[in-house]
């Protein structure tokens, strides 16, 4: 439930940042499908959890260290939305200036995603396909196992 609310909120943030395509995806995937899949997974694994003997202190130390290192890494970043930032200097101007002539699709996100970055998107589709097959393999193996042992 919290995941779904979080996704809808971040979809609102993306709309505020004028990234309508990303907001669309976040609302549909994060707010819709993954909430349902999360609930489905919860109903599969049941309500009870075995009491683990985890080392909470060690985990807190590792998480704090990793977080501190990540924050330290952001110190070198250019300012948020800075026009001189490398991301705005490299290929983005070409996409913005040339895509109406080269691709001619009004939605620039689509032209970057499908045409300039066609390989990336092909890889993403392959990843989704592979993930689907992986989940199917895992869950169907579980079912077959159950059918073999109806008594247990």
């Amino acid at each position: 439930m919290l995941f779904g609310i979080y996704s809808l909120l971040s979809a609102g943030i993306f709309v505020g940042l004028d990234a309508v395509d990303v907001a669309f995806t976040e609302a549909a995937v994060g707010g819709g499908i993954s909430t349902i899949l999360m609930l489905g997974a919860l109903s599969l694994i049941g309500k009870k959890q075995e009491a683990g003997h985890s080392n909470a202190g060690m985990a807190v130390v590792i998480v704090t260290l990793t977080g501190a290192m990540l924050i330290y890494g952001t110190l070198d970043f250019p300012g948020f939305g800075h026009p001189e930032a490398p991301v705005h200097q490299h290929v983005a101007p070409r996409y913005i200036e040339q895509s109406p002539q080269e691709v001619g699709v009004p939605n620039m996100v689509t032209s970057v995603l499908a045409s300039y970055r066609g390989y990336d998107t092909l890889g993403e589709v392959a990843v989704i396909f592979t993930a689907g097959i992986g989940v199917l393999t895992l869950l169907s193996g579980r079912r077959r196992h159950k059918k073999k042992n109806p008594g247990s």
């Binding site: 309508v20 395509d21 669309f24 995806t25 549909a28 995937v29 819709g32 499908i33 349902i36 899949l37 489905g40 997974a41 109903s43 599969l44 049941g46 002539q101 080269e102 691709v103 001619g104 699709v105 009004p106 939605n107 996100v109 689509t110 032209s111 995603l113 499908a114 045409s115 066609g118 390989y119 998107t121 092909l122 993403e124 589709v125 392959a126 989704i128 396909f129 993930a131 689907g132 097959i133 989940v135 199917l136 869950l139 169907s140 579980r142 079912r143 159950k146």
Partner: protein, 149 residues
């Protein structure tokens, strides 16, 4: 689920609208926000809503798991196939400009086709995942009932 009358009536009204909206997002992605991925997820969500309200068995009758797996593979193949066709027509892999006499028109055609491939794969995989989870969840419930008896 036989007794949720309001839910069933509302879902019956919603599902066609969701599927129609998914198709709009799919084929209007060039001009407005959206594209194959979003359309596939929305299309899948329509099916999942149907499956949740009317039961997975009835959803199975609309889209059988085997057909879905075939569609998921077909989407990836369509995408990769567009790349191969552009190779054969003398361009680079996934260079849609050679698909038509006018490069811009070729780009339109290529993007439309690959977005269709993306949408097909995403929708099929989403529905397949839902089936996989729902089938096991149903078994869990029956197991629990048997255990209670």
């Amino acid at each position: 689920m036989e007794h949720h009358l309001v839910l069933r009536v509302v879902a019956k009204l919603m599902v066609p609208l969701i599927l129609l909206f998914a198709l709009y997002v799919q084929f209007h992605g060039d001009y407005g926000p959206g594209g194959g991925f979003q359309a596939g997820v929305i299309f899948g969500a329509g099916f999942i809503l149907y499956g949740l309200v009317f039961g997975v068995d009835r959803a199975h009758r609309v889209a059988t798991p085997g057909v879905l797996i075939a569609f998921a593979a077909a989407g990836v193949l369509l995408y990769a196939g567009v790349g191969v066709v552009s190779l054969l027509l003398g361009g680079n892999y996934l260079d849609y400009g050679v698909l038509s006499h006018d490069p811009v028109h070729g780009q339109h055609l290529g993007i439309l086709l690959i977005e269709l491939g993306v949408g097909t794969t995403v929708a099929s995989v989403m529905i397949t995942l839902f089936y996989a989870f729902a089938a096991d969840a149903d078994m869990e419930f029956t197991d629990d009932e048997e255990a209670n008896e």
